[in-house]
């Protein structure tokens, strides 16, 4: 006897118990009676295509017990829309649930469906930022934030400052860098210039260079810099002077960033007669500054048509 079987409200439903397929199922879960009963009623209402208030309660119960239950989430959304429910109320319930199960993917997809239908994102960016206090790199939350920006056209509002805030907190947070890239460049399909705009480009270059200044061995801003010049069609060599502040073949003992050396190798390779210098930079990476990737650096040399050299030779030279 359980919560549902004893409830007259559910008397008309014939529950569908779990079909385990046979007498010896593999990896069978010893469900609690409560879970088993609730799922049995869930299966029954889904089979009958029932969309009702009591179904909402049922889904709430199940989500409490198993927030990763994608079927129940999708059915709940369908039911809400079918009944034309107050979606603000749904969001309030979701807020509580989200705090408990932040890493759960389904919850964010559900939120996305609700807010899309509401056609109003009031309070959403603030809520999301709150979520980042616990985990500033949550993939689903960042994806949701991107969707908000696009769906509600939040490009010009406070998104840029938001990424600045996040990066001030942790300049190595690659998710925040990715979001910044999206804010700046996400509208090129709509004809809004990203890095192609000179003023904007300068702002972004300065921002990334500043981050390198604080943390030279931080890959995120280096990736960002490379992407800016590539996207804008500016020669890679425009970063040469900057990269040389962190790595120089003239001072092979005081390289401050392997990413700077890697970038220099690419810059040299594009210069007339620069292949040998590129090779030297790559040798330095393989022999001293990034030996775990020695095969990759050798591969890069081979792409330039250069022979690979032994580490001993590099160190001696």
């Amino acid at each position: 006897m359980g919560k549902y079987s004893e409830d007259p409200l559910w008397a008309d439903i014939e529950p569908l118990p779990t079909d385990e397929g046979g007498p010896n199922p593999l990896a069978a879960i010893a469900y609690s009676e409560e879970y088993e009963e609730t799922m049995s009623y869930m299966r029954a209402v889904m089979a009958a295509n029932e969309y009702s208030d009591r179904v909402l309660e049922l889904t709430e119960d199940l989500i409490d017990m198993n927030p990763a239950h994608y079927t129940v989430w999708l059915y709940r959304a369908k039911t809400l829309f079918h009944l034309d429910k107050d979606l603000r109320e749904e969001l309030e319930w979701l807020n509580e649930t989200a705090l408990e199960h932040q890493k759960n993917y389904q919850i964010w997809h559900h939120r996305n469906l609700i807010v899309d239908r509401l056609d109003d994102c009031e309070g959403e960016t603030e809520f999301v930022e709150q979520m980042f206090v616990k985990d500033a790199k949550n993939y689903h939350v960042w994806s949701y934030r991107q969707w908000l920006v696009k769906r509600f056209g939040l490009w010009e509002t406070e998104e840029l400052e938001f990424t600045e805030r996040m990066l001030r907190e942790d300049v190595r947070n690659n998710s925040a860098w990715n979001h910044r890239w999206y804010i700046v460049n996400g509208r090129e399909a709509e004809g809004v210039k990203g890095e192609w705009d000179e003023g904007l480009r300068k702002r972004e270059l300065d921002f990334a260079k500043n981050a390198v200044g604080k943390t030279p061995q931080n890959q995120s801003p280096w990736n960002y810099l490379r992407a800016i010049v590539r996207t804008a069609g500016v020669p890679l060599a425009s970063l040469k002077e900057f990269a040389e502040q962190y790595a120089s073949l003239d001072r092979p003992d005081s390289v401050r960033s392997s990413f700077a050396l890697d970038l220099l190798a690419d810059i040299f390779a594009e210069e007339e007669g620069g292949k040998d210098k590129a090779g030297k930079a790559l040798d330095l990476l393989a022999a001293k500054y990034d030996p775990i990737r020695k095969n990759y650096w050798a591969y890069r040399k081979s792409q330039l048509g250069l022979e690979s050299s032994t580490p001993e030779a590099v160190v001696a030279a």
Binding site: N24, Y35, N66, H109, N178, Q219, N223, I292, Y299
Partner: protein, 506 residues
């Protein structure tokens, strides 16, 4: 991980950590310790430091330290500190060493660890009620990577998954759950592993896949669910292994958008997932993530030969650069994202990319010489470092075995399976045969994914990787991530294509 129904790796890791791992808690610690046995190789420990590879030497580890601490750098430093004693041989956790001084692969223990969940799970595993097919796959496939016989699970698995298969086609996470690409993929691979493919209703599967194909070329994970790159890889795996028609079923809603085939706009859609950093994200504009790189590359390797489809749709140089940097220093394993932590499951998700990429870059040149694209010559990555990470840091010591994300984590089926397939990627050689045909003339089946050959680690390879024969994992198919024999059986079984008038029942 990455392609469970619960999206990115973190989710599943979290899930396992919080609830489902309860069963794996050791009930007492004493039984776990194997001590004092004079295994050959133990003597190496004393002077082991001198033999450390260069990336583990103090001079390398000490490079580039700045005082600008953030949440990220603190987490990175903490992880390095927890791994170093294992990596350098100071702490072998009592695991017997091989003659090169690395811990042996604890085959028996890991096998028993993978058999355990199949026997049944306690109530807290209800948290995995929507991803149980993954347990079937991780456990059976992981066992097969250890050369364990799993055929005894055939009948039981076929019975177990029958209620998971929906009339409209595809498999859900459990009885009465919606069909889902990830659940379908995991069930299919588990069935292929034990030889139970007959239970699948191929025609219904074909119809259902037609409902998740999208007009932009990608696939949704389920009807009404998210569209991402896992969907594309999972769906194309099912279509190819089961030899379903490439034509969209007549009732597919995408036909209205002018699409006629499952492959329409698919390569182009995958292109849009390559981000500004060069890596691949779950869907356009999202952050680069190692797991999605594997899904993209494997999907392209289903569409055609690696040296043709990969460069056609992706900027290979930028992708390689991005994935290379995910191999972490000093641990030697892979992280899933830039500035994040090493985690054993990426040994597969990123480690599994290299065979595909190496075949893509060596392809055309080598093909002229002998018709096969080998990954032996071109070695883009550090296999030795990955092997060391997995053997020293990721094996749970003691009789219960299992493999884990990192030393401070508990073992689970997911990390055990993907650590083993990552080991296989590092230890063995995989070759693409460029002269084999890429499409079956009669049925239209895409054949490229069947043109891979695996070659076990040679004596020289083993020496280079500091392993012995019994530390080497079986050959794992680089596209479908099950044993080659299982792939071959699926290829032969459905070679004739079409749908039977009456579905066979045995």
């Amino acid at each position: 991980m990455a392609i469970t129904d619960s999206a990115a790796d973190d989710t599943l890791d979290e899930l396992l950590r919080n609830k489902a791992r309860i069963i794996e808690l050791p009930d007492d610690n004493n039984e776990d310790e194997v001590t004092g046995v004079p295994f050959p190789g133990n003597h190496l420990r004393k002077n082991g430091i001198h033999h450390l590879p260069q990336w583990l030497q103090q001079t390398t580890i000490g490079l580039f330290h700045d005082d600008y601490n953030t949440v990220s750098s603190e987490a990175l430093d903490k992880t390095a500190a927890e791994c170093l004693p294992h990596l350098t041989g100071q702490d072998n956790q009592g695991i017997p060493l091989n003659r090169h001084g690395l811990p042996h692969l604890q085959r028996k223990q890991h096998a028993s660890f993978l058999h355990t969940p199949l026997k049944g799970l306690p109530a807290p595993y209800a948290a995995m009620d929507a991803s149980r097919p993954w347990l079937f796959y991780w456990c059976t496939a992981g066992l097969s990577f250890l050369r364990e016989d799993v055929s005894m699970y055939r009948e039981r698995l076929m019975e177990t998954v029958r209620p998971l298969q929906n009339k409209i086609g595809g498999f859900g996470g459990g009885h009465g759950q919606l069909s889902h690409c990830a659940c379908t993929y995991a069930t299919l691979l588990a069935l292929a592993t034990v030889g139970g493919l007959d239970v699948i209703d191929r025609e219904a599967m074909w119809h259902w896949l037609g409902t998740v194909k999208q007009a932009d070329g990608g696939f949704r994970m389920a009807i009404g669910a998210e569209e991402d790159i896992r969907g594309a890889y999972c769906a194309m795996t099912a279509i190819t292994l089961l030899n379903l028609p490439l034509e969209l079923p007549p009732d597919s809603p995408t036909r209205e958008a002018g699409l006629t085939h499952f492959t329409d706009r698919l390569g182009e859609w995958i292109s849009t997932c390559q981000s500004y950093e060069g890596g691949i994200s779950s869907a356009p504009n999202h952050e680069v993530h190692g797991a999605y790189a594997f899904c993209a590359l494997a999907c392209l390797c289903i569409l055609g030969p690696p040296h043709i489809t990969i460069p056609k749709y992706l900027d290979v140089d930028r992708l390689i650069r991005c994935l290379t940097t995910l191999q972490t220093n000093p641990e030697g394993g892979f992280a899933g994202r830039t500035n994040k932590l090493v985690d054993a499951c990426y040994s597969h998700w990123v480690g599994g990319c290299w065979a595909l990429l190496e075949a893509a870059v060596v392809g055309p040149h080598e093909a002229k010489q002998n018709g096969s694209v080998s990954s032996a010559e071109s070695r883009l990555w550090n296999r030795e470092a990955l092997v060391r990470y997995l053997l020293t840091c990721c094996q749970q010591p003691g009789p219960k075995g299992g493999m884990r994300d990192k030393p401070s984590a508990r073992p689970d089926g997911y990390h055990t399976c993907y650590s083993l397939s990552g080991l296989s990627a590092a230890q063995n050689q995989y070759t693409y045969n460029t002269t084999a045909s890429t499409t079956d003339r009669e049925t239209g089946r895409l054949l490229s994914a069947f043109n891979w050959k695996g070659e076990r680690a040679s004596e020289g390879d083993m020496k280079g990787l500091s392993v012995e024969r019994n530390d080497v994992v079986e050959l794992v198919h680089p596209v479908f991530v099950i044993r080659f024999e299982a792939v071959e059986e699926a290829r032969r079984k459905f070679a004739r294509g079409g749908f039977p008038v009456v579905e066979g029942t045995d």
